[in-house]
C-alpha cells in the first residue's frame, strides 16, 4: 500500500514537472529553450561570487585559463546538469569564466564587448571591491579561497608599492603557494585604470597602511 502510494506520488511528480516545463519547451524547435543569458551588466561580477561559493564544493577551483570560451560553455551545461545549479547561476559563472580567461573570443552566447561587465562610471573603490573582489578576497580582506593572500598581514601584499600592485591587478597575478592566479582586473575587463587606483586606495584604507 505504502509502495503503491510512493509510486503514484513519483508518477504525479513527473507529470507535474512536465506540465510546468511545457511553456519553455514550446519556445520552438531548434531554438534554445533556456539561452544562457549574458545581457546583465553585472553578470561577470555575480559570476565571480557564484564561482567562489559553488565551484569548490566537490573539486578544486579550476583556472579560467585552462580552456577556451567554447569549451567552458559546454562544461557549464554539464555542471548545470550534474552538480545541479540554477540556470541563472550557471549563466553568471560562465560570464565570469569567459571574461577571465583572456581568450578575447567568445563561444556561444558570448556577450557583446562590455555588456557583461560592471560599468565603472560613478562607482567608488568600495563599490568596485564589493562587486568584483569580495568573492575571493572577502569582506575583511583576509581571503576566502585557498591561496588568496591576507591583506591585513604586516608584510603581506600591501607592503608592495602602488605601481607593483596596480600592475598585478591589471595583468593578473598568482600569489606564491596559490593554486591559481587572480584573473586580470578580477575578471571585470571594463575596469579602467582610474577604477583600479580607486579600488587599491579602498583596499589600503580598509585593510592596510597607505603607501605611495
Amino acid at each position: 500500500m505504502k509502495a503503491t502510494m510512493i509510486k503514484r506520488t513519483a508518477i504525479l511528480a513527473f507529470v507535474l514537472m512536465g506540465v510546468l516545463a511545457l511553456p519553455a519547451l514550446s519556445a520552438g524547435a531548434g531554438q534554445s529553450a533556456v539561452p544562457l543569458r549574458n545581457t546583465a551588466t553585472d553578470a561577470a561580477a555575480r559570476g565571480a561570487k557564484a564561482w567562489s561559493e559553488n565551484c569548490n564544493r566537490c573539486h578544486n577551483y579550476r583556472n579560467p585559463k585552462e580552456t577556451s570560451d567554447k569549451n567552458w560553455h559546454v562544461i557549464a551545461n554539464h555542471m548545470r546538469v550534474l552538480a545541479k545549479f540554477p540556470g541563472q547561476t550557471v549563466s553568471d559563472i560562465l560570464a565570469f569564466l569567459q571574461a577571465s580567461d583572456n581568450s578575447g573570443f567568445g563561444g556561444m552566447g558570448t556577450p557583446a564587448p562590455g555588456s557583461t561587465t560592471v560599468p565603472s562610471q560613478g562607482l567608488s573603490g568600495e563599490e568596485i571591491y564589493n562587486q568584483t573582489c569580495v568573492a575571493c578576497h572577502g569582506g575583511n580582506g583576509t581571503g576566502l579561497l585557498p591561496g588568496v593572500p591576507n591583506f591585513t598581514r604586516e608584510n603581506g601584499p600591501l607592503a608592495r608599492s602602488d605601481d607593483e600592485l596596480l600592475l598585478h591587478i591589471a595583468n593578473g597575478y598568482q600569489s606564491p603557494g596559490s593554486p591559481m592566479a587572480m584573473p586580470p582586473k578580477g575578471g571585470n575587463a571594463a575596469l579602467k585604470n582610474s577604477d583600479l587606483r580607486a579600488v587599491l586606495s579602498y583596499i589600503r584604507e580598509s585593510f592596510g597602511k597607505p603607501q605611495h
Binding site: 510512493i6 513519483a10 516545463a21 529553450a33 551545461n77 545549479f85 540554477p86 540556470g87 556561444m108 600569489s175
Partner: protein, 438 residues
C-alpha cells in the same frame, strides 16, 4: 730714328698699360688666380659628380625601400585577410549549434597490501567523458571506463550515458544510464582527481557495499533559489538494483539494461545550501529485489529501502565532509550461483558511513611547494546485520593520506589504510596514485 721710334713705342705701350691697368706682373698674378679658380671649379665639378652619384644611389635605395614597403603591405594585407578568415571560421565554430568537448580523467597507481590474499600490483584506468551540446537545449554525456584486469585483459564499462533536456532554469529531464543521485560521494566525488584519497570509503564500493552507484531510467533534477540561497533536487525511476550471483557481493546497485522483477525503483534527493560553504542532502530509494532462481525453484521478492544523509563543509583551505547510507532488505527466497537451489535468507540491514577532513597547507605557508600539500584523514565503516554471507565485508577503516597538487586537477596521492575486518584477515594497505582530470 730707330732708337727714338722704339723708345716712343715702348713709352706708348707703357702708357697704354698704365691706362688700361695691364701689367706683366698683373698678368702673371691673374693667371695664378685663374688656375686657382679653375682648380676650384674642377673640385666643385668633382663634388657635383659625387653628389650626383650619391643622389643616384639614394634613388636606387628609395626604389628598393618602396618595393619592400609594397611587398610588406601586400603581406600585411594577406595576413589580415587570413586573420579575418580565421576569425570568421572560429566565430562560425563557436556559434555552431552542436558543440562538443572531451573531458575525463586518467589514473595510475601502485598498491602494496599486507594481509589477505591480494598481491601488490600496479593498475591503470582511463575514463573519457564525452560532452555534446545542442545549443542550450540538450546535452548528451557519456563516460567510459577502461581499466586493466589482473589477467591482462581490459575491462570496458559504460559509467553513464544519458540525454539531458535543459527544460527550464530549474528543471532538467534525464534519460539513459546516469550516476545515482543518492547521496554525494558516487554522484560527485568518486572520480580519482576529486576523491581526496586513493580509496573509496568502506561500504561505498562496487562489491559488498550498499551505496547506490548507477541507474538506468528517467530522472528529473534541477536547482532553485530559496531567498539568497539555493536548493537542488532529483527524482528518478529506474530498473532498480539486483541481487548479485555472488553472495558476498550482496546487492548490485549498478544500473542494468533490464528489469528482472518488472518492478521499478523510485528515489530521489533534496539538497540545501544553508550557508555559502555548507551543503546538506537527504536521499531515499524504494525498490524490490528479486530472488535468483539458481538451479531452479520458486523465489520471492524482497523490499529494498535505502536512506542517505550527506554533508560537506568547504571553506577556505578546509574540506570536511561525510555521508551515511542505510539499506534494509526484507527476507526473501533466493539462490546464489547457478548450482544452488533457492533458499530463504533473513532480512539484512547495511549501515555504511564515512567522515573525512582535508586541509590545504597554502593556508599556513606561502612556500610554493609546501602550499601544494594537503593532508587528509578519513574514517569509514561498513556494518551489515542479518544474512551471514552479506556480513563478510564488514569493516572498520581509517585512512591517512597526503596529496600533492601540481594543479587544480593534477594530483599525486600517498595514503595508508588500516582495514579492520570482522570476518576476514585484517589488511594494511599503502597506495600511491597519480590522477589527472581534464
Amino acid at each position: 730714328m730707330t732708337g727714338r721710334f722704339a723708345t716712343i713705342l715702348a713709352a706708348t705701350a707703357v702708357a697704354l698699360m698704365l691706362l688700361t691697368g695691364f701689367s706683366p706682373i698683373a698678368v702673371a698674378q691673374s693667371n695664378d688666380e685663374l688656375l686657382a679658380r679653375i682648380e676650384a671649379l674642377e673640385q666643385k665639378l668633382e663634388n657635383i659628380g659625387k653628389a650626383q652619384q650619391e643622389l643616384e644611389d639614394l634613388k636606387r635605395q628609395l626604389f628598393r625601400a618602396q618595393e619592400n614597403s609594397s611587398q610588406a603591405l601586400e603581406k600585411a594585407e594577406s595576413a589580415e585577410q587570413n586573420a579575418s578568415a580565421a576569425m570568421i571560421e572560429a566565430q562560425a565554430e563557436s556559434n555552431a549549434t552542436i558543440q562538443w568537448h572531451l573531458a575525463g580523467y586518467g589514473t595510475a597507481d601502485y598498491t602494496n597490501i599486507d594481509g589477505g590474499r591480494e598481491t601488490d600490483a600496479f593498475a591503470a584506468a582511463f575514463n573519457p567523458i564525452f560532452l555534446v551540446g545542442y545549443g542550450d537545449l540538450v546535452t548528451w554525456e557519456s563516460e567510459l571506463e577502461f581499466s586493466t584486469n589482473r589477467d591482462g585483459s581490459t575491462k570496458t564499462e559504460i559509467e553513464f550515458s544519458n540525454l539531458n533536456l535543459l527544460a527550464t532554469d530549474w528543471l532538467t529531464f534525464t534519460a539513459g544510464k546516469f550516476l545515482s543521485p543518492i547521496g554525494d560521494f558516487q554522484a560527485h566525488l568518486h572520480p580519482t582527481w576529486i576523491n581526496k584519497l586513493p580509496f573509496r570509503p568502506a561500504g561505498f564500493a562496487e562489491d559488498g557495499g550498499n551505496e547506490s552507484l548507477t541507474e538506468v531510467g528517467f530522472m528529473g533534477r534541477g536547482a532553485f533559489f530559496l531567498g539568497s540561497r539555493t536548493a537542488n533536487y532529483s527524482i528518478f525511476v529506474g530498473n532498480g538494483p539486483q541481487l548479485s550471483d555472488e553472495a558476498e557481493e550482496g546487492v548490485k546497485y549498478e544500473g542494468s539494461g533490464g528489469d528482472v522483477n518488472d518492478n521499478k525503483a523510485f528515489g530521489g534527493r533534496i539538497g540545501f545550501h544553508p550557508l555559502p560553504y555548507l551543503s546538506v542532502g537527504f536521499s531515499g530509494m524504494r525498490s524490490k529485489v528479486a530472488g535468483r532462481p539458481g538451479s531452479g525453484g520458486s523465489v520471492t521478492h524482497g523490499d529494498l529501502n535505502l536512506q542517505d544523509f550527506d554533508f560537506a563543509f568547504t571553506r577556505g583551505e578546509w574540506d570536511i565532509r561525510g555521508e551515511w547510507v542505510r539499506s534494509d532488505l526484507d527476507p526473501l527466497v533466493t539462490a546464489f550461483g547457478d548450482d544452488e537451489a533457492p533458499a530463504p535468507i533473513p532480512g539484512t540491514t547495511w549501515n555504511s558511513w564515512y567522515a573525512q577532513a582535508a586541509y590545504r597547507l597554502s593556508g599556513l605557508t606561502e612556500n610554493t611547494v609546501f602550499g601544494n600539500l594537503e593532508p587528509v584523514f578519513r574514517y569509514s565503516q561498513l556494518n551489515a546485520k542479518g544474512f551471514q554471507e552479506f556480513k563478510v565485508n564488514n569493516e572498520d577503516r581509517w585512512t591517512l593520506g597526503l596529496n600533492y597538487w601540481f594543479g587544480p586537477s593534477l594530483v599525486a596521492k600517498f595514503a595508508f589504510a588500516n582495514r579492520d575486518f570482522e570476518f576476514q584477515e585484517d589488511q594494511h594497505v599503502v597506495r600511491l596514485q597519480m590522477s589527472f582530470g581534464f
